[in-house]
Amino acid sequence: MAKRRRGEGRRGVVIAVVSTVVVFTALGLAIVNAPGWPEVKAQFFDWNEFKSTFPDVLSAFWLNVKLFCIAEVFILPLALLLAIVRSLPGPVFFPLRVLSIAYTDFFRGVPTILVIVTLGFGAPALQLQGIPQSTTFWGVVSLVLVYTAYVSEVYRAGIESVHPSQSAAARSLGLNHLQSVWYVVVPQAVRRVIPPLLNDFIGLQKDTALVGILGAVEAFKQTQIDQAATFNFTSSICAALLFVAITIPLARFTDWLVARDRRRQFAGAPA
């Protein structure tokens, strides 16, 4: 029985390989032989162009990496704080809850590019003492403002998904509201929302390209500079590959983290 199943498994692999090769070869031939392919290739997939622009785009991309790392470091705790404030019970905290809701409604509703342009060009133009003049600084502030609103909603969904009996159990031990939120509710909530948190982190990574509008030479801005000189769009493909090269390993790493945690916590979780 086991032997037969192993045989069937091998046959399945062979079929999958053959059918994949056939389908992808057909697709490749269809694309390469399509009318206009030489023009498309010259415009987007020029190997010499790729070699000459890739180093520039790569070094510009380093700025994107710095931007989204710095922004995320502020977004994750601020958004959690916002979500916790929104969950505070009792009439005393009503104004704080209202502020939290208003903040989220506003910054989730406004286009990111609008916030970036308004703050990035507007805030330095104030010429106020003590206010940073760097447009890039304000670009990061804008990203933090917008993404904190998104991420706080993700946290809130997680917090509300934890059954009230959990906080009842924590409160019955004499923990106060914040202790029960911090030690019992939030750890469970965060575990549940790791995939959507990663979603927003990837969104943030891509939106760092918007900071290029303010003049900072990040990957997107660099491709525009290259394209203005050569009228060739291969540099865009360079930038696209770099963004994807960051997100895919990150996604697999997060999957691995979640799976490891589930194995530890739940009996019967697939090993």
């Binding site: 159990a169 924590a170 031990l173 004499g174 923990l175 750890p187 469970q188 916590q265 739940f266």
Partner: protein, 252 residues
């Protein structure tokens, strides 16, 4: 009950409504120190709500609750202080799934009582060892059987050194063969002198263990007395009907 005992818990005319439905309609009850009181009655008679009110998990609408001489219902009472002295164990265990057994048991002592980690863990391990769970400290709750989970939940409440322990149908979610290990633990606590109010469907347990049995019906304590009296010669017709149904179901 001729010896003079201090009163652990007093309820006076306690009322509680959910919306327009009045779940508790004037509960009067006094529990002495070291006494075990069992609450019996049909589902929806108010047993669970009564226990949740004593622990202030539900605010009451009217009446007074006094625990160890302290009026919990007076304005300005620190509910967190009150809860530290009252343990409650729930039907569905409500263990914290993201924490090991040891962390479940030490969370309250560490965060609410302010014990050091070392001291809380030493006490928890002693407690786990005493009740046959010594080798389970590092496990997550999902790895345990239902009976073990409920025993951990009871020990989690005990780790706070409560003066009063409230047990809310603690065996109702368990497979029949796992009930006895939990009841055995409760029996040991009763023999150790723990003051307990126990809502239960386990009539034989109530008969063996309780100093007093209260029959709740439609939000009031309709009848109370020694278990022999309640189970052998109930006075109220509603109590007789309830017990007849229990007997018919083979649960007594």
């Amino acid at each position: 009950m001729t010896e003079a005992r201090a009163t652990a818990l007093v309820l006076e005319d306690v009322h509680k409504s959910f919306g327009s439905h009045e779940v508790l309609r004037g509960i009067d009850l006094a529990v002495d120190e070291h006494e075990v009181v069992c609450l019996i009655g049909a589902s929806g008679s108010g047993k669970s709500t009564l226990l949740r009110c004593v622990n202030l998990l539900e605010p009451i609408d009217e009446g007074r609750i006094v625990v160890n001489g302290r009026d919990l219902t007076a304005p300005g009472v620190d509910v967190n202080e009150v809860r530290k002295g009252i343990g409650i164990v729930f039907q569905a265990f409500n263990l914290f799934p993201h924490m090991t057994v040891l962390r479940n048991v030490t969370l309250g002592p560490r965060k609410a009582l302010g014990l050091s980690r070392a001291q809380a863990e030493a006490e928890a391990l002693e407690l786990l060892g005493r009740f046959g769970l010594a080798d389970r400290g590092g496990d997550y709750p999902d790895r345990l059987s239902g009976g073990q989970q409920q025993r951990v939940a009871i020990l989690r409440a005990l780790a706070m050194r409560p003066k009063l322990l409230l047990l809310d149908e603690v065996t109702s979610a368990l497979d029949p063969e796992l009930v006895s290990e939990v009841l055995q633990l409760i029996r040991e606590l009763a023999e150790g002198g723990m003051t307990m109010v126990v809502a239960t469907h386990e009539m034989s347990f109530a008969r063996d263990l309780a100093d007093r049995v209260c029959f709740l019906d439609d939000g009031v304590i309709l009848e109370e007395g020694r278990p022999e009296q309640i189970f052998s010669a109930p006075r109220e017709q509603r109590t007789q009907q309830f017990l007849a149904r229990i007997v018919a179901a083979g649960r007594l």
